[in-house]
């Protein structure tokens, strides 16, 4: 039947392709043009403006540092959580449900939750004061405490973003055939050997998806940082937002957007190369 009407699949995917082309490709082309033009003529003035801005180097550094600090921790925690929950029989669903709660919270709300904990009059200071550890309000999020601010943002990001990694990894773990593990046990492989030699290689496709997704999202980090760090911790997307909203210079904002896209694409390509997945293994 499909052979007699080969256009049917194309017809069915047409709406989604048209939708994406209209609402993604067109603005993408417009944004790129906005970034590399000045008064209608091609120009690198916006890129130059972006690179020479006082917050550019800081925002690049902060974004990369945050990504490097957050993504590996999230993958490790998610692997640990996924492996632990695999051993649980009853109540597994409930545990997974609780672990995925941060997924349902918007970025900004997550940022505000952590702000209410870490601000001067927040829960953390109240607790420390109650325990007699500090004598008066301590600042954790000011420009004078960059290390505490960085840790606070990293912790908030880890709290908020680990759930999505875990969901992908649990799905990957579920697909690892039991027989392999049983065979390995019979040959006397310990838990560590089984994890390194069997589980990890077999969940490589899931790991790859999780890494790409999380890294791209980490480069796009904004709302949590904006709530906790504001002006004190510039990141790339935050600078794009400032140029668009506060400075009302849409061209420099577009230059930032294009830069973020290039970084994300590069990271994706690196993962695709580095964690090459055998097509035979793809589910």
């Amino acid at each position: 039947m499909t052979n007699s009407r080969p256009w049917i699949p194309y017809l069915l995917i047409l709406p989604s392709v048209a939708f994406l082309a209209l609402l993604f490709v067109v603005p993408l082309v417009q944004t790129i043009w906005l970034a590399v033009s000045d008064n209608g003529a091609p120009s690198l003035a916006n890129a130059e403006r972006m690179v020479t801005d006082i917050n550019f180097t800081r925002s690049v550094k902060n974004t990369f540092l945050l990504t490097i600090a957050v993504v590996p921790v999230q993958i490790a925690i998610a692997l640990a959580m996924g492996t632990m929950v695999a051993k649980v029989g009853r109540g597994r669903e409930t545990i997974l449900w609780i672990w995925t709660i941060p997924l349902g919270i918007s970025d900004l709300a997550a940022g505000l939750v952590w702000l209410s904990i870490l601000q001067n009059t927040g829960y953390l200071n109240s607790l420390l004061f109650g325990l007699g550890i500090i004598g008066r309000q301590a600042s954790w999020l000011s420009y004078q405490t960059p290390v505490a601010l960085f840790i606070a943002i990293a912790v908030a990001e880890i709290w908020r973003g680990t759930a999505i990694v875990m969901v992908i990894i649990v799905a990957g773990l579920n697909q690892v055939p039991k027989e392999f593990k049983e065979a390995a046990e019979i040959f006397g492989a310990g838990p560590w050997t089984r994890f390194w030699r069997i589980t990890l290689p077999l969940i490589r496709p899931a790991l790859q998806s999780a890494l790409i997704l999380r890294t791209v999202l980490a480069f796009e980090v904004f709302a949590v940082v904006y709530a906790l760090g504001g002006r004190n911790f510039p990141v790339l997307v935050g600078e794009a937002y400032n140029w668009q909203n506060q400075n009302q210079n849409y061209s420099v904002a577009a230059a930032y957007a294009v830069l973020i896209m290039i970084i994300s694409l590069a990271a994706t390509l690196i993962y695709l190369k580095a964690l090459k997945v055998d097509p035979e293994r793809l589910p």
């Binding site: 006082i54 001067n120 009059t121 004598g135 008066r136 309000q137 600042s139 999020l141 000011s142 420009y143 004078q144 405490t145 904006y226 504001g230 002006r231 004190n232 400032n242 668009q244 909203n245 506060q246 400075n247 009302q248 210079n249």
Partner: protein, 424 residues
């Protein structure tokens, strides 16, 4: 049951889509956005002028909407209410209806000509009608007054006294007690343009990198040791004041009002400090304008006239704390917090050394980048401790380029210029 429900949903959907068909004059405003204030506008200020749809919009979205409607050539908005600086890009693109007849009428009924002239935005015709005005003041908790240095009058402070005050408070309480709104949405840039630069240099653009400016920045660095480091996260000073994080703060009156109105007995409100060149202050003006091609121009003019009547202006002052643009006397039964703020505004205007700093004119859509020059200087000099002279030289070059690009002429307190305002 199911049928009734789906019928109900259908009916309400139809109603929801059908109701906007009623002819309403759309009034988009970047001012009076919080729900309490918007309700006052809808239910009290606009009660008797017929069907008005009062829509609030954040300033960036406002700019985008106006530009989108301009490019599309299809206006839905008949009347806009926005700050001087937000209307300036619209006038720059020649998208505002001239309002000279209305201006003449209002001048006759007592709107000061100086204020009306601001509404020309540097053009030959009236671009907007001044709607409400406000300014910036300082507020302090009453318990902070005991730390005032000897001989200091809170209503006539200078920078040395403010620094000494900050030092006393820090020594007594163990932490810095002065706060500034230097957060991402705070109005700190206005502090530099309307207060710091006029007070220390007597100018804003011309004197940007002068020796007076360098001395001023050194003074600010000295003050900043007694300013709470959380200032770079503060957007509205009413919150840290009410929460007890700071005792003394500088901000826009509308951003102090909630704390002061909630406990008027706990606060004193007073003018910002004076520097060697006087006591700089900056009036803020919100204006009403009609976009070209507005669907209901007549209705919009009627609303402008209504909002400019003395009764409406007084009601606005007592309900939302923005002051009249007409010369009218405030009623004695004013909200206690608003009365305190009004007292400080009067004290500022009446002080002998006052230096008025007008809002920037002619910057078009570069107002944000103009603010950035000051905020970048602040970040580099005060927060990152870079050498003052180097920073002022680099930022001065950016400023000079901005002025040549926009061809903006100098505005008060800078001396008039023939071409673009020079950075000396």
């Amino acid at each position: 049951m199911k049928h009734i429900m789906s019928f109900g949903i259908l009916a309400s959907t139809v109603l929801a889509f059908a109701s906007p068909v009623l002819a309403q004059t759309v009034f988009v405003s970047t001012q009076l956005r919080p729900i309490e204030e918007a309700t006052v506008v809808r239910e009290e200020l606009l009660k008797d002028v017929g069907a008005v749809d009062y829509v609030v919009e954040e300033p960036p979205q406002f700019a985008v909407r106006m530009e989108a409607e301009r490019q599309a050539g299809k206006r839905t908005v008949s009347l806009v209410g926005a700050l001087h600086g937000e209307l300036s890009p619209l006038a720059d693109k020649d998208t505002l209806e001239p309002l000279d007849d209305l201006a003449k009428k209002l001048a006759a009924s007592g709107m000061p000509q100086s204020l009306l002239d601001l509404g020309k935005l540097g053009k030959s015709t009236q671009q907007y009608i001044p709607w409400m005005q406000a300014t910036y003041v300082m507020a302090a908790k009453k318990e902070a007054l005991q730390y005032l240095p000897d001989g200091a009058d809170v209503n006539a402070l200078n920078y040395d006294q403010l620094i000494a005050w900050g030092k006393n408070m820090q020594e007594a309480t163990g932490q810095p007690q002065i706060g500034f709104p230097a957060g991402p949405k705070g109005l700190m840039a206005r502090y530099f343009q309307g207060y710091f630069y006029p007070s220390f240099t007597g100018g804003v653009v011309r004197t940007f990198q002068s020796a007076d400016a360098a001395a001023g920045w050194e003074k600010l660095k000295a003050l900043w040791t007694y300013v709470t480091p959380n200032s770079t996260s503060y957007d509205f000073m009413q919150e840290p004041l009410a929460a007890g994080e700071v005792m003394v703060a500088w901000d826009h009156i509308a951003r102090l009002k909630n704390a002061i109105s909630a406990a008027p007995d706990d606060y004193v409100v007073f003018p910002a400090p004076a520097g060697p060149k006087g006591r700089g202050y900056m009036p803020v003006v919100a204006g009403l304008a009609i976009p070209k091609g507005a669907p209901d121009k007549a209705g919009a003019e009627k609303i402008i006239e209504h909002l400019s009547m003395p009764e409406t202006q007084l009601l606005t002052a007592s309900k939302v704390g923005f002051f009249p643009t007409l010369s009218v006397k405030l009623p004695p039964d004013l909200d206690a917090g608003v009365a305190l703020l009004a007292g400080a505004v009067t004290a500022t205007q009446a002080s002998k050394d006052a230096v008025i700093s007008l809002l920037p004119v002619g910057l078009g859509d570069k107002g944000g980048e103009f603010n950035k020059v000051y905020m970048d200087s602040f970040q580099r000099i005060v927060l990152q401790n870079e050498p003052v002279a180097d920073v002022l030289k680099a930022q001065g070059a950016t400023m000079a380029k901005l002025m040549t690009d926009t061809k903006a002429a100098c505005w008060a307190p800078d001396a008039k210029s023939d071409g673009p305002c020079p950075v000396e």
